[in-house]
């Protein structure tokens, strides 16, 4: 009997396939908005949801999704307000989620073993009723992520511009947060709540080593996510280890390969020059040799924030419209 004939493995593989598609799909939008760690926060909050389910005897998937959506809405609300205290408020929410979850699971009379299956995934615990919920939610996330792609892309790319085109930006932001919460719950059984964020972010980071468009990043990330999930689940069965850890380790290995290949490709095509370099100076008269910048107290360095421009054997710094280059103890105009 092969592993593909075992019913629980079939369910695990279907859940893995959908998780591998939906986590990088929503992850692409989160990374685009520079909110890579949002999935992690929602995962922490969902632990309380799971614990509530165990305590009250309801299906943990349902309580987890309710608490995760509430948490994601709270995160989005705090983020949209943009207050400096928002960062601390989010930290409190995350710690509260994980501590509350562990506490409630203790009260429910469940041990660390039960908690572990939710934190790092477990192949044997995907029940048929869980699978229906997972399939339904993952399909909904994918339909929205692809169907509303242009709108979600615009909001994540440039929120102010999106608002001036008349898009319902607050609604779309909330939609992204809710989709992330749903995906966390979908992924809970395969990668687990502590590692779900990795499946949202690592495939996207891997894809962008070799892609140049949003669409190809999206598609490549989903392909990487599915591959990592299915390979991880099969490996996890054979080696009898937690699937979440296996999936994430495989995804990270893929990232390292892609980063190396991407660096080699960029070197080959000669695109290792600073990316935001200005246009080549065609027709600009050559600068006078050795003009010392008068009264230049600022010492440029790699980290000073002035734009750096490769200039032959040295680096010029763009400073108030002038190019400055180090020359011994003073700065030259270039």
């Amino acid at each position: 009997m092969t592993i593909f004939e075992l019913e629980f493995m079939q369910r695990a593989l279907i859940a893995g396939l959908l998780t591998g598609l939906s986590a990088p799909a929503i992850g692409t939008y989160l990374v685009q908005r520079r909110l890579s760690l949002m999935g992690d926060g929602i995962g922490h909050i969902a632990i309380t949801g799971v614990a509530l389910g165990l305590l009250t005897g309801t299906a943990p998937v349902l309580t987890a999704i309710i608490v995760a959506i509430a948490g994601a809405t709270a995160i989005e609300f705090v983020r949209a307000r943009g207050k400096a205290s928002g960062d601390v408020a989010l930290a409190l929410l995350f710690y509260g989620g994980i501590a509350g979850g562990v506490l409630l699971i203790g009260l429910a009379g469940q041990g660390a073993a039960t908690l572990n299956t939710y934190l790092f995934g477990s192949l044997t615990t995907v029940s048929p009723s869980d699978l229906y919920v997972v399939v339904g939610l993952a399909v909904a996330v994918l339909v929205i992520a692809i169907g509303l792609g242009p709108q979600l892309f615009a909001v994540c790319q440039d929120e102010e511009f999106a608002r001036v085109t008349g898009l319902r930006v607050q609604l779309l932001n909330l939609l992204i947060a809710v989709m992330a919460a749903v995906t966390v719950t979908v992924a809970m059984r395969t990668v687990g709540l502590l590692l779900v964020s990795a499946l949202m972010v690592v495939p996207v980071a891997t894809a962008q080593q070799i892609t140049r468009s949003f669409r190809s990043t999206f598609v490549t990330a989903c392909a990487i996510g599915v591959t990592a999930c299915l390979a991880g689940i099969i490996t996890s069965y054979n080696a009898d280890v937690a699937p979440g850890a296996t999936i994430v380790v495989l995804a990270l290995a893929g990232f390292m390969v892609a980063a190396t290949v991407g660096a080699l490709l960029r070197r080959r095509s000669g695109r290792v020059a600073p990316l935001d370099d200005e246009e080549p100076e065609v027709g600009v008269p050559a600068p006078e040799p050795h003009v010392v910048s008068a009264g230049h107290p600022h010492a440029h360095s790699q980290a000073c924030g002035h734009k750096k421009v490769e200039h032959g054997d040295h680096v010029d710094y763009v400073h108030d419209g002038h190019l400055h280059a180090r020359h011994g103890d003073h700065w030259d105009e270039h």
Binding site: Q32, R33, L148, F153, A154, V164, T165, S213, E278, E279
Partner: protein, 258 residues
């Protein structure tokens, strides 16, 4: 247009009407009682030192900031009720057009068409043609498949203006479009604006330094400490703009508006 005709006829010719506008940012009045009327087809430069309220004025006009007092009307409709965003093209103040994930020039420009695009609908042939046209105007057609993060600052600004032009707006609002842009890109920029102006587009542009755009301006407005201190023909304004520039540190509140 549901309002009575007589009331509309007065306002219809105005692309932007700002009445007694005050804007409060974090408890500080950044604009104080600004009145401004911009007729359709005018090309207006908004000048002033850092912190004078230029960007705040622009952001309030497009509805990104709320008015503490007074109101802004676009084409006769108060901004909170304005829905015809297709008529407005906006170029925000940006250093980069790139996000956390790579995106091509084509993808960024196509996001300018969303105000008229239905949900779950694919991009039609007319819209694809509009994108090609906008790319051609800013001379970026051969870079359409390049990632915006790999372009120079000037090229990225050109992508942002193409994104604003692609919906064929009647009112174009630009916030510091030429800041940090090389001269070659500024020239292409000015040519793109000139083409729009010839077609009757109203242009409102915030700038420190108009560069090649100078010749296009019909009217300058100078803001100082949240009030309009000059409103008239452009060339008389140039000298006074420089006076305000050198006014010193007390006017330098750039962090408020950036």
């Amino acid at each position: 247009m549901t309002a009575p005709k007589n009331a509309e006829s007065d306002t219809a010719a105005k692309a932007v009407q700002v009445t007694d506008l005050s804007v409060d940012l974090g408890g500080r009045l950044v604009l104080r009682g600004v009145d401004l009327q911009i007729r359709q087809g005018e090309v207006v430069a908004v000048l002033g030192a850092n912190g004078s309220g230029k960007s705040t004025l622009i952001k309030t006009v497009v509805g990104l900031l709320p008015a503490a007092r007074g109101e802004v009307r676009l084409f006769g409709t108060p901004v909170p009720r304005f829905r015809a965003w297709k008529r407005v093209g906006y170029v925000p103040q940006r250093i980069t057009a790139a996000g956390g994930v790579p995106a091509t020039v084509y993808e960024v420009v196509s996001s300018g068409l969303l105000s008229s695009r239905r949900l779950f609908a694919p991009l039609g042939a007319a819209r694809k043609a509009a994108i090609e046209d906008a790319l051609r105007v800013v001379d970026m057609a051969d870079r359409r498949k390049d990632a915006v993060a790999e372009l120079s600052g000037g090229q990225q600004q050109r992508v942002l203006i193409a994104r604003a032009l692609v919906s064929d707006p009647e009112l174009l609002i630009l916030d510091e479009p030429t800041a940090g842009v090389d001269l070659a890109s500024q020239q292409i920029f000015a040519d793109a604006i000139r083409e729009r102006v010839a077609r009757g587009t109203t242009v409102v542009m915030v700038s420190h330094d108009l560069g090649p755009m100078d010749a296009l301006i019909d009217r300058s407005i100078i803001l100082r400490r949240g009030r309009i201190v000059y409103d008239g023909p452009p060339h008389a304004s140039q000298t006074s703009a420089h006076v305000h520039h050198s006014h010193g540190a007390s006017d330098d509140l750039g962090w408020l508006t950036s």
